[in-house]
């Protein structure tokens, strides 16, 4: 039986093998796009026909949102990646052999992320996230420069430690579930865990959640566990920065949300919300201030990702239907906007031959499409109306203000500080006298503007089915 659920796993897995076998980067780049598109279409069909969940794979309203978002951004990024990689080969940054490896790894990453999202088993989910980490480590180090190796090494060490802590937490959850559910696979299955969570030993669950929060929190990029994130974003190929920011952070967040739901079902366990609120706030504030000291364009947007993950974790930590809705919307908008920004940044860095902000200038004059695309993206990410992020940030703030005004004020300060930092740098990059090479970019603008258009439309008008779907998930999240 082949259903959509098997499809979202099988397509990238088969594609990864095929891409590793085929030579010629033009062919593999196209195949990569086709595979990503097929995965996206298959994932969308989950909304039409819902497959039956088994004891290893699971589909519900919560992970459908994540899967569709992941496969969509995975598809658009593969389109961007095709033109980006073409340029990298022309200027000799990458050899065809490495590109073959890169494409295979790209599909392996998509497979790992989809597996983490559909896994119905806490052990399987852990394995998938570990796999996603390892594939991205390899891709971050692909340029094999001094900087890329340092970034990959740092990412590898910190990511492994995070993953190790998460495994310890996973084992503790099993220990808590075992006396109630009994030994064996059943005690690691999400759908079983959720029905019996109220009877688990609360003390064990508490300790487990601390480990899971620290472990998966490292992968989400929450301060102070974020040290790997800016390096990995800055030194890897830009499509990978887009996927890291737009997708992998979400996948780790998804794992965290599942465990949060589990804890919420046990009345005697600690409330996971406040812990997440604190970590979210710290990340948001810290990253906002760090934006001012950035000299490297990709690092700057990496810190902006930390800030936004902070806001999202904060919103989910607050909980309740409205805050969850806002968090979910913010996560979607951030994924779309941040990957659009990285699409622009990738081409800009290729045109200018550098990532240093001081060596770029006047982009709106020299490369109007790219320049204005970036301006639009930054306006969106900074949370200005009428774009989608304004709406989600407004919802987060207003729902918080009704319950905890002080927290809302702190969060608002973080958002405003970040806005200042982003615009200060944007001014240097996009306006003023042109600096650096001014060659025309051989770019694919479609993915970037498609994302920005989606963000724009959502900011003005959200279709009723989307609202209903998000409300549904928000209720699930409790």
């Amino acid at each position: 039986m082949i259903d959509a659920l098997t499809g979202v796993l099988a397509i990238p897995a088969v594609a990864a093998v095929l891409l590793a076998a085929f030579p010629g980067y033009r062919l593999t780049a196209r195949l990569n796009v086709v595979a990503a598109l097929l995965t996206f279409v298959t994932a969308s069909s989950l909304y039409v026909v819902e497959p039956v969940s088994g004891s290893y794979l699971l589909v519900d309203d919560l992970n459908k949102v994540f899967i569709v978002l992941t496969t969509f951004v995975g598809f658009t990024t593969s389109v961007f990646s095709a033109s980006y990689i073409g340029h990298e080969i022309e200027i000799g940054h990458l050899t065809p052999k490495f590109v073959r490896f890169y494409h295979a790894m790209y599909q392996a990453l998509m497979f790992a992320m989809n597996l983490a999202l559909v896994a119905n088993n806490i052990g399987l989910m852990w394995v998938a996230i570990e796999m996603a980490t390892l594939t991205t480590v390899l891709m971050v180090g692909i340029y094999r420069t001094h900087e890329a190796l340092e970034a990959a090494w740092k990412y590898f060490i910190l990511g492994s430690v995070g993953i190790a802590l998460a495994l310890f937490g996973t084992i503790l959850v099993y220990m808590a579930a075992r006396p109630v559910i009994g030994e064996g696979v059943e005690a690691m299955v999400w759908s079983v865990l959720m029905t019996r969570a109220a009877h688990f030993d609360p003390a064990l669950l508490n300790v487990a959640f601390i480990f899971l929060l620290l472990g998966y929190g490292t992968k989400v990029g929450l301060a102070p566990l974020h040290a790997w994130l800016p390096d990995a974003h800055a030194e890897g190929p830009t499509p990978i920065s887009a996927v890291l920011s737009g997708l992998l952070l979400n996948v780790a967040l998804y794992a965290l949300l599942r465990f949060k739901m589990l804890l919420a079902l046990n009345p005697a366990a600690i409330a996971p919300g406040p812990l997440m609120v604190i970590m979210g706030l710290i990340s948001c504030l810290f990253a906002a201030f760090m934006l001012y000291r950035r000299r490297d364009i990709k690092r700057m947007f990496a810190y902006s990702s930390i800030e936004h993950m902070g806001i999202i974790v904060f919103a989910f930590g607050m909980g309740g239907a409205l805050a969850n809705f806002a968090g979910l919307l913010h996560m979607t908008m951030h994924s779309l906007t941040k990957s659009a920004i990285f699409f622009a940044v990738g081409h800009i860095a290729q045109v200018k031959g550098t990532q240093k902000i001081a060596d770029m200038g006047g982009l709106t004059v020299t490369n109007p499409v790219l320049g204005w695309g970036l301006v639009l993206g930054v306006v969106a990410i900074a949370g200005l109306p009428p774009l989608g992020i304004f709406m989600s940030e407004f919802l987060v703030l207003s729902s918080t203000f009704a319950r905890e005004p002080w927290l809302a004020i702190i969060l608002a300060i973080g958002i405003l500080v970040a806005l200042g930092g982003l615009f200060m740098r944007l001014n240097t990059i996009a306006f003023g006298a042109p600096r650096g090479p001014t060659a025309k970019a051989d770019a694919s603008y479609v993915p970037m503007f498609a994302h920005l258009a989606l963000v724009f439309i959502t900011g003005i008008y959200m279709p009723a089915p989307l609202v209903k779907g998000f409300e549904n998930v928000a209720r699930l999240l409790g």
Binding site: N121, G123, L124, W126, V127, E130, M131, L134, V137, L138, G141, R144, H146, E147, L149, E150, A152, W153, F156, I157, S160, V161, A164, L165, L167, F168, T170, I171, L172, Y174, M175, R178, P179, E183, G184, V185, A187, M188, D201, A203, L204, N206, V207, P230, D231, A234, E235, R293, R294, R295, D296, R299, K356, A358
Partner: protein
Amino acid sequence: MLRGTISFDIAHLLAGSLVLVSFMQLYQDRLYALLNVYALHALVLAASVGWQAFVQDAPHLYLTAVIALVFKAIIIPTALHRIIVRLGIHREIETVVGVGPTMLLGMGLVALSMVVMLRVTAEADPLAREDLAFALSVVLLGLLLMVTRRNAVSQVVGFMSLENGLVLAATGAKGMPLVVEISVAFSVLIAFIVIGIFLFRIRERFDTVDLQALDRFRGERR
């Protein structure tokens, strides 16, 4: 205790030895010695997992024990030995923090894990309980080893002993499905491949595996 005192005592002894060997790793200041102690670490783990397999009557755990014995106690130390020889870095390890403070920190971490785990698992069966406390100690000591060393090889050893702690925890959790044990072993394998590639590349580029050489670059300077 509740059942077969001897079997409990032996499991206790082996898990405790693992913590002890973790401590021994902390003060090794030569790479060869560190690798030998790591091999001992993996050996004790294999014995402990094997004993758990016997006590719990769980044959699949023997597989985990064999993996620990063959892969972790023999293949990896040998391979790392070769890398060290080839790179010509078999002399001293630079420790960031001195031996004294490191040992004190290590004791603090063990005390912490005892306090945390024994308190929250008051109702679990005693074997699993003590195992978990020891496992957390090994994990934390592995972390400590990683942060106190600058050399890439000794960081890898720290990471691997951390993984050993996880295996101890997983086998201590009675009846934990095979999926996880294999995945743990498998992830170590993958991790090692990755590390191997990295070491190779690092050597290729800079002729050193001292991470301080890598740290020169901060990315933000003009």
